[in-house]
């Protein structure tokens, strides 16, 4: 049996600040608990009934006192709210240049794919000191990616992407738990996040099961599934060119615009009629049921890689109908 544990490793850039807030709230909790307990205890003894006919005088109340003990707790929770929300906001956006990792949860394992194509099951190797952004989806039910030592957690849902990010600050191996009940072996859907020094990490990258990168796999899928037939690079095809699209604003039929992010690309593949690019017709077939989550992730990586390419000039003729 292990010793009595009270401390949890602080192994990410946000862990310490989360703990500081946690300890502050704990101090508030302990203070008010002690205040109430001790006051009650004191009153219980000081004002204990001394004779059976005792009849204390009536005390209706005291408005200034009520205002005081309404205002003070309100102030305290306001402080906690502002502190917490600021921290939460700051932690919500991953830094630019984060290392991208694609995570698929399924009953009852974690499938991890690095952008270079390295795959892991129930383990995630990351380099020390570099921000890592996880894009996650589920193949079946709701799961949850939870790394206590990093103080990060996010639900993993079927049919959509959620993301979380962290920067590891301590070399070591840390628990990865599934934090949302997902069926029989929910308790077994655990793994490890292994933080390595940068050179050790490079060594791991090179050594392990190397497949092709997600981008390269995505390009292959783009060809084999016929996407390239309509989405010609010069924009002369039935569908719009995908050069310079990812990360930018896309004008839709009906005048609205949308930012081409992961969710947009995914929706375009699975539910193409939902949003039609301005000037095009709804003829793209759906690929629902024909691609696995991992393949969709590969395609997104490929489209993302085209995002910075220069869009080719439009062909001189009008009428793409």
């Amino acid at each position: 049996m292990h010793g009595l544990p009270f401390q949890l490793a602080q192994a990410s850039t946000i862990a310490r600040s989360v703990d500081q807030l946690y300890y502050f709230i704990m101090v508030v909790t302990l203070f008010f608990t002690a205040l109430i307990f001790l006051t009650i205890f004191y009153f219980m003894i000081k004002y204990r009934r001394r004779s059976p006919d005792e009849r204390p005088k009536a005390i209706e109340g005291n408005i200034p006192l009520e205002i005081f003990w309404t205002a003070v707790p309100t102030l305290i929770v306001a402080v906690i709210f502002v502190w917490s929300s600021t921290l939460y906001f700051r932690n919500s956006e991953p830094p630019k240049g984060s290392m991208e990792v694609f995570v698929t949860g399924k009953q009852w394992m974690w499938k991890i794919e690095h952008s270079g194509g390295q795959r892991e099951i129930n383990a995630l190797h990351v380099p020390l000191g570099r921000p890592v952004k996880l894009t996650m989806t589920s193949e079946d039910v709701i799961h949850d990616f939870y790394v206590p030592a990093f103080r990060v957690k996010k639900d993993v849902l079927p049919g959509r992407y959620t993301s979380l990010w962290f920067t590891a600050t301590k070399v070591g191996t840390y628990h990865l738990f599934c934090g949302q009940y997902c069926g029989a072996f929910h308790a077994g859907m655990i793994g490890s996040v292994i933080v390595l020094k940068p050179d050790d990490y490079e060594r791991w990258l090179a050594g392990g099961t190397q497949g092709e990168s997600m981008e390269a796999a995505g390009e292959k899928l783009f060809q084999s599934n016929g996407c390239v037939t309509c989405h010609l690079a010069d924009g002369s095809g039935v569908g719009p060119s995908l050069l310079g699209v990812y990360g930018h604003s896309v004008k839709l039929n009906g005048g609205t615009s949308v930012t081409a992010d992961d969710a947009y690309v995914r929706e375009s593949i699975l539910n193409p009629r939902a949003k039609i690019v301005a000037g095009y017709t709804p003829v793209m077939p759906t690929f629902q049921g024909q691609l696995t989550e991992a393949q969709i992730g590969d395609l997104i990586a490929y489209v993302r890689s085209l995002g910075n390419a220069q869009p080719k000039p439009k062909p001189k003729e009008e009428g793409k109908q």
């Binding site: 989360v18 109430i36 204990r48 006192l65 929300s85 069926g183 029989a184 929910h186």
Partner: protein, 542 residues
């Protein structure tokens, strides 16, 4: 301890218990007091069943690899423990037992507005309970009491539809009870009993009833759609047809958060009555406590999103729900301060009901404050889905609501049964429960912070020490609950007879016999004094 006296029935005056005999007089009764006792027996039964499942769970968690059952079985245990405790014990408990018994008496009426609906409420509760017991016996349910989709609708092979029907049906018991109370309190108060002369228990019952009536139907429709999805295998809440699993969560929590206020407001009402009586003082800031009660009920409808902070919702959504969740804590804090202030310069006696009420204040304070960790976005990310949450809600539901219920039972037992119970044993039991409870659930706060997720049938070995501590505490707490079961049943036959007002309390229920006659009062009283008229200048001399 008092001497046991067996009072032969033939000498007892005519009251609601001896007015009529035979099973028909109980199962077809329209008397709110008898219906309260029907509920008392049934919810005690469900408490034992739910507690039994909890016992098996705590035994399982002694061993990191799981001591006694397979993971699939454990998953069914925590699911049924949750469903039974929430829907068949906590939600009905105080309203259906104490509320049914006391609301007409406290307002000087002869019965509730709709006695037949009241009886129907009980039958609906029993029918829902039968569906749930069936689902437990026919293989169980393993979705968690929260039934998150798509697991519960498209992946689980257990009795999801049966239990959804069971809870759906029982919801109507809640709705009808709430409806009855609202209408009764509006329309049937005795002459002179204005709103601000009402006992705080009635205010609590009123606010609770409003929540029951507004919230429970949303649960009903959600479970209906869930059952439809499970039966027909179509994706209302699952991505296969474009359904949204988060929509299920929003609809579910829209009811289930206010539901926790259904569980705690009645207990707060009981505590107000007990603190006033056993300090012989009006509750400090009576009107403020009334408004706080209403504020909790209203605000409670706007915080449900704090159960969903890590679902990937927008940060602005999180901000709003976080702010509102902090605000709903304030009226509860105000109440705690007012109860404490009531003790100031009071005349305090330590009878068992008072021990439960004071225990409530302490444990509710702790439980409520730990809610701050969860309302706070940054810390909730770490603590959501862990044992911290489990500890938080057990502090409030067991340390709070159950203590309130037991305190209320002990306070009004002489009125309900006409008998007194041994105070010494009652005080011992209160202490054992308090200690056992803290031993069980305090370690779980630590477990949660350290990262142990909830609903785990087995866990990493480093969490064992705290789990063993918790299981040991649960044993103590279990023993603590057995003690009142024994002496309260004992008292019904051997307890000394109780007078009309054994505690010297104010309130109309104490101005009639113990137990009361079937139609409650010889004459409907006319109310001329404020609530809690304990002070010498106000007391009508009892």
């Amino acid at each position: 301890m008092s001497t046991a006296t067996h009072v032969p029935r033939v000498h007892a005056p005519r009251n609601y218990l001896n007015a009529d005999y035979g099973w028909k007089s109980w199962l077809f009764t329209l008397d709110h007091k008898r219906i309260a006792l029907l509920y008392l027996v049934s919810i005690t039964f469900f408490f034992v069943v739910g507690g039994f499942f909890a016992m098996l769970m705590r035994i399982q968690l002694i061993e990191p690899s799981g001591a006694i059952v397979q993971p699939e079985t454990y998953n069914k245990l925590f699911t049924l423990h949750g469903i039974i405790m929430v829907f068949f014990f906590l939600i009905p408990s105080i309203p259906a037992v104490l509320g049914n018994f006391l609301v007409p008496l406290m307002i000087g009426a002869r019965d509730l507005a709709f006695p037949k609906l009241n009886l129907l409420s009980w039958y609906i509760y029993i029918l829902g309970g039968m569906f749930t017991l069936y689902s437990a016996l026919a293989g169980g349910v393993d979705t968690g009491w929260t039934f998150y989709t798509p697991y519960s609708s498209l992946y689980s092979n257990t009795q999801v539809t049966a239990v959804a029907i069971g809870v759906f049906i029982t919801g109507f018991s809640s709705i009808l009870t709430g409806l009855n109370f609202i209408v009764t309190i509006h329309k049937m108060r005795a002459p002179g009993l204005t709103w601000f002369r009402l006992p705080l228990f009635i205010w609590a019952m009123y606010a609770t009833s409003v929540i029951m009536v507004l919230g429970t139907p949303v649960l009903a429709i959600t479970l209906f759609l869930l059952a439809l999805e499970h039966l027909l295998h179509v994706g209302i809440f699952s991505p296969s047809l474009g359904g949204d699993p988060l929509l299920f969560q929003h609809l579910f929590w829209f009811y289930s958060h206010p539901a926790v206020y259904i569980m705690i407001l009645p207990a707060m009402g009981v505590v107000s009555e007990i603190i006033a009586c056993f300090s012989r003082k009006r509750i400090f800031g009576y009107k403020i406590v009334c408004f706080s009660t209403i504020a909790i009920a209203v605000l409670g409808f706007f915080v449900w999103g704090h159960h969903m902070f890590v679902t990937g919702q927008s940060i602005y959504e999180g901000l709003i729900f976080s702010l509102l969740s902090f605000l709903v804590a304030i009226p509860s804090a105000i109440k705690v301060f007012n109860w404490t202030a009531t003790l100031y310069k009071g005349s305090i006696s330590y009878d068992a009901p008072m021990l439960y009420a004071l225990g409530f204040i302490g444990l509710f304070t702790m439980g409520g404050l730990t809610g701050l960790f969860l309302a706070s976005l940054a810390t909730d990310v770490h603590l959501n889905g862990t044992y911290f949450v489990v500890a938080h809600f057990h502090y409030i539901m067991v340390g709070g609501a159950v203590m309130g219920y037991l305190g209320g039972l002990h306070f009004w037992w002489p009125k309900i049964t006409g008998r007194k119970y041994p105070n010494g044993w009652a005080m011992i039991a209160a202490a054992v429960i308090f200690i056992g409870f803290n031993l069980t659930f305090f370690p779980q706060f630590v477990l949660g912070y350290l990262g142990m997720p909830r609903r785990y049938a087995f866990y990493p070995a480093e969490f064992q020490v705290l789990n063993v501590m918790s299981s040991a505490g649960a044993t103590v707490m279990g023993v603590g609950y057995l003690i009142p079961l024994i002496y309260l049943i004992w008292s019904m036959r051997y307890g000394p007879p109780a007078e009309e007002n054994p505690w010297g309390a104010t309130g109309l229920e104490w101005k009639t016999a113990s137990p009361p006659p079937t139609d409650n009062f010889k004459e409907i009283p006319i109310v001329t004094e404020e609530a809690y008229a304990y002070a010498p200048e106000e007391a009508s001399g009892d």
